[in-house]
């Protein structure tokens, strides 16, 4: 149970980050997911990413809806506040939390049911509002927690464990996000930690809404022959177009990349993402081009992965548009918020 945390005594030999913290100290309570569930691997990548960023646990806020995927916020960084809300409505909780305190780092973990069925309205509008957060969809094509019904991301022709075949077209979160003007859109695979970790780090540092669609197989209900979201199928059909290396503020870029293929993008806080284009004729900064590329690959049943689109001109981030004070709203002294008696007396004139 999530309040029984494993002892966090750092074993001397364990590697520590700049805060002197070990990976263990970024863990959460014990997972109650099925052995082999893709979501647990994503949890591991989140732990790795946070540790790598030397994130202060109290600076992180974990948000989720309902589902096996949504449960995972309890399984990492137990030193952070978590809010496991209701099904499909996490984006509104995130928008409100972020409005109250723009300084913290927000990570939302959701599933394809939570985000694309009941929650698609809120997801769409969180993207439009450009809430500054990392939003992970642990996408397995089914409703795991309710025992394997097809979700809205199930592909046409995919077979359910019980045998029925899905015939409705899938909603692709990546194409959707590109259409809605998201400024950070990525796709990855729970089994590819090397690719996923830097994406998570970049997403956490991006100033605005960062979406990562993580293919995360459900071993219990959607990992069989005939499923297009199984480990085997995913491994065979995913295809990295552009890898991202994350370079924290501190380090200066050691490796040098062959020109043209690599593209450094500086993030809000000064850190950098180096985009390595595995496919030369791919441009992650051109939204419409990216859309085409992804769309055409999808037609061939290929999931393009990597940092698909990024736009660091954070002009539309919520607080920028709102001209919110730099200090978190929840920290502003009451004196500055309440106009006081004199102002009220003056105001009365307006109503006579």
């Amino acid at each position: 149970m999530s309040y029984i945390n494993k002892p966090k005594v750092a074993h001397p030999s364990l590697p520590v980050n700049t805060l002197g913290m070990t990976r263990r100290q970024y863990e959460g309570s014990m997972s109650t997911l099925c052995a082999g569930c893709g979501h647990d691997s994503v949890t591991a990548s989140i732990i790795e990413a946070c540790w790598g960023l030397s994130l202060r646990p109290e600076q992180l806020v974990k948000l989720s809806g309902i589902g096996c995927s949504s449960k995972t916020t309890a399984y990492f960084v137990s030193g952070s506040h978590g809010f496991n809300s209701v099904h499909g409505r996490m984006p509104s909780i995130a928008s409100g939390a972020n409005a109250a305190n723009r300084e913290l780092t927000y990570v939302g973990v959701s599933g394809d049911g939570d985000s694309l069925s009941i929650g698609i309205g809120q997801l769409v509008h969180a993207i439009r509002r450009n809430v500054n957060m990392l939003y992970l969809i642990e996408n397995n094509g089914v409703y795991g927690l309710t025992k394997g019904q097809f979700s809205a991301s199930a592909d046409i022709g995919t077979k359910a464990k019980r045998g029925d075949v899905n015939s409705s077209p899938p909603i692709d979160p990546v194409l959707l996000a590109l259409t809605l003007g998201a400024t950070f859109v990525a796709r990855s695979f729970s089994g590819d930690k090397a690719q996923l970790v830097p994406l998570i780090q970049a997403g956490l540092r991006h100033n605005g809404f960062a979406l990562i669609d993580v293919l995360s197989p459900c071993v219990t209900f959607n990992d069989h022959e005939g499923s297009t979201k199984s480990y085997t199928y995913t491994r065979e059909h995913y295809h990295a177009a552009v890898e991202a290396d994350f370079v924290p503020l501190a380090k200066e870029i050691a490796v040098d990349y062959a020109a043209g293929e690599s593209l450094p993008v500086s993030l809000h806080d000064g850190s950098q993402v180096i985009l390595r284009k595995l496919d030369p004729d791919y441009d992650p900064t051109d939204r419409t081009a990216a859309y085409n590329y992804i769309g055409n690959k999808l037609k061939k049943n290929e999931y393009v992965t990597g940092l698909i689109h990024i736009d660091e001109s954070d002009s539309t981030e919520f607080h920028n548009l709102n001209h919110t004070a730099e200090a978190p709203l929840n920290s502003i002294p009451f004196e500055k918020l309440s106009p006081g008696r004199a102002a009220l007396d003056k105001l009365m004139a307006r109503y006579r």
């Binding site: 999530s2 109290e58 409505r89 409100g96 409005a99 929840n330 502003i332 918020l337 309440s338």
Partner: protein, 614 residues
């Protein structure tokens, strides 16, 4: 003029009703008249009956000139300014016997004299205006000002006061000032030249409005949120709550924007719907901001799931329900008090919620502030149940007061230092034995970290499916609710307290009840009156119910929802509770209260000496 006699000497005590077409700018003319009377020191109330569309449908505005400062709708009309051909006949019908009908005689109308008991006053308004002004839109607008002038002359409104008001509104636009003044005079002078004026129904200077303002409840509530230090407002537009957020935003733009940097100490989120709006409020409150959402019935229905989460996970939040006529979309521009039961028990499972019942705009301001203190103290949703009558109509209220010594009660929030002092922090352990536990805010310290969830949890904040652990938390929540009254505003008692008959009511019924009490008093029927300001009920409510033999519960819905709440949540035997219901959608008037009480008492003469005849 038969009317004259009937209305002899009705100084500062009569009702003027304007019948217009909406979207023609009549509102400003009507409030011009009202404001002028108010400034003459004469108490007034204004009730706006507008359609749920934007332009072209009938709309009415009712000004009650009431030297006794009654806040309720009067159930009669003495002067009808009939500017809408479409509703003309029903407007004539509605006029009180002996009343006056003012109409635009530019095009003489048939059937005018279908009533012999009223006085018809013909003024060729369109003609006057068209001779003096150009432009279609312009003429429409100025015709409104012209009838204001007519009325001013007829009921003797001080012309200087009106001119003063015009100068205030158009001071910076001399052209507009001229045309408006001219239009006003056109009507005014026409009366002076062609008609006997003033009418016996007229206004005279008084001194009963000093220290008072005319304000609507949504504006007052929005202002209250600013004064309470709310920084996050989330909403989805819905009549009649929209103007509450407009007001909050407006006041924030005035008081919360740094003049140098332009930085804003507030965030207003226009959500995609009410589910998102309440979610944003929960997210913000959970994260330490004072946050609120204004809505109306349909919004409450949509918020049900999140409200249950807030109750169970103990996240403070403030919800303004500006009630309108239900069920469903109902009549969005009419008033009712029909969300009481839904709000009291909103969401599935065992849930119950704190409700506040403002009776007028003044209380909207004060209760808005208290709502945040209560929500944070009890860590639970607090509903402020206003309604369209309070929220959107102009009421005369005493000036709003503010004590600069006020500091918000943020409730039990542990600081980093306090956490450091603890051996270990558990979110839902009842350390103080008051059923209220300690919370921490994100960003404080890893030691204060906890996991908030709507799924089964034990007092340590951990996930549980264990019966005993689950019940520990659920039982405490019940104890917390039982203890709530001590943090809530007490009811207001009126009367000797010794009468056998009592009225119990809430919210916007207040004006009608106070007026009814006067009428009954003059008839030697004295009745005590308890106005409940909050739920769960204070012990004073129990006492009042116990100490009065016959009780009338006055409320504005079909199903006696407030009576139901009293039945369930006090010891009273419901047989004692007589309902007086009004659910027409119009603000309540004193008449039905007087009549039903008289009728009931007539059945049981023991209770009070009541003349048999009405």
């Amino acid at each position: 003029m038969p009317g004259l006699i009937a209305n002899a000497n009705r100084v500062n005590d009569f009702v003027v009703k304007f019948a217009n077409v909406n979207g023609t700018g009549s509102a400003s003319a009507n409030s011009l008249v009202m404001k002028a009377i108010f400034r003459m020191g004469v108490p007034v109330t204004g009730k706006n009956y507008f359609p749920s569309n934007i332009q072209g449908l009938p709309t009415w505005y009712e000004i009650r000139v009431t030297r006794d400062a009654y806040a309720a709708r009067a159930s009669q009309v003495d002067i009808m300014v009939a500017m809408n051909a479409e509703t003309y006949s029903r407007d004539v019908r509605e006029l009180n016997s002996g009343g006056y009908l003012i109409y635009d005689s530019t095009w003489p109308r048939s059937g005018l004299l279908q009533r012999g008991d009223i006085t018809v006053i013909a003024v060729p308004l369109a003609k006057l205006v068209n001779e003096n002004f150009d432009g279609v839109r312009n003429r429409i607008l100025l015709k409104n000002i012209a009838y204001a002038g007519v009325l001013a002359a007829l009921i003797d409104v001080d012309l200087d006061v009106i001119s003063g008001l015009l100068t205030e509104s158009y001071g910076k636009k001399p052209k507009l000032l001229d045309s408006n003044t001219k239009a006003l005079r056109l009507g005014y002078d026409y009366v002076k030249q062609h008609l006997t004026s003033p009418l016996p129904l007229r206004v005279e200077h008084m001194n009963k409005t000093r220290g008072h303002i005319m304000i609507d409840g949504n504006t007052a509530a929005g202002l209250g949120c600013v004064y309470a230090g709310a920084t996050v407002g989330a909403w989805y537009p819905i009549t009649p709550s929209t103007s509450l957020m407009d007001a909050f935003k407006g006041f924030c733009e005035r008081f919360r924007v740094d003049p140098n940097t332009g930085e804003r100490n507030f965030a207003v989120l226009q959500a995609e719907d009410e589910l998102a709006a309440i979610g944003m409020v929960l997210g913000a409150s959970w994260n330490g901001a004072r946050a609120f959402t204004p809505t109306s019935g349909p919004g409450i229905s949509l918020m049900n799931e999140f409200i249950g989460l807030a109750y169970y996970a103990e996240v403070p939040c403030v919800i303004f329900d500006v009630q309108r006529v239900g069920p469903s979309t109902g009549m969005p521009t009419r008033t009712q008090q029909s969300d009481i039961i839904l709000c009291a028990y909103a969401s599935h499972g065992d849930t119950r919620h704190v409700l506040l019942f403002p009776a007028n705009p003044e209380e909207c301001f004060y209760l808005a502030v208290q709502a945040f203190d209560i929500a944070e103290r009890l860590q639970t949703p607090v509903f402020v149940l206003s309604d369209l009558d309070i929220g959107m109509n102009d009421w005369m209220c005493p000036d709003l007061q503010w004590d600069d010594a006020y500091r918000p009660d943020r409730g039990k929030i542990l600081s980093q230092e306090e956490l450091a002092g603890l051996e270990k922090f558990y979110r839902y352990v009842d350390r103080d034995d008051d059923a209220i536990t300690y919370r921490t805010l994100p960003g404080t310290s890893p030691k204060g970290a906890f996991f908030t969830r709507g799924s089964g949890h034990n007092q340590y904040g951990g996930y549980t499916e264990d019966s005993a652990e689950y019940q520990v938390v659920l039982d405490r929540l019940k104890r917390k609710f039982v203890s709530a009254p001590k943090y809530l505003p007490k009811p207001v008692m009126l009367g000797k307290g010794s009468s056998e008959v009592g009225i119990v009511s809430l919210g916007s019924c207040d004006g009608a009840i106070r007026e009814a009490l006067d009428v009954l008093g003059r008839q030697k029927i004295d009745v005590d009156y308890l106005r409940v300001k909050s739920f769960p009920f204070n012990n004073d409510v129990e006492v009042f119910l116990k100490t009065h033999a016959t009780i009338f519960v006055v409320e504005q819905n079909r199903d006696a929802q407030f009576r139901s709440l009293l039945t369930l949540e006090t010891a009273v035997e419901k047989s004692k509770l007589n309902s007086i219901l009004s659910y027409s959608g119009l603000p309540m008037s004193a008449e039905p209260i007087v009549n039903e009480i008289r009728a009931k008492l007539a059945e049981a003469p023991r209770l009070a000496a009541v003349p048999r005849k009405l």
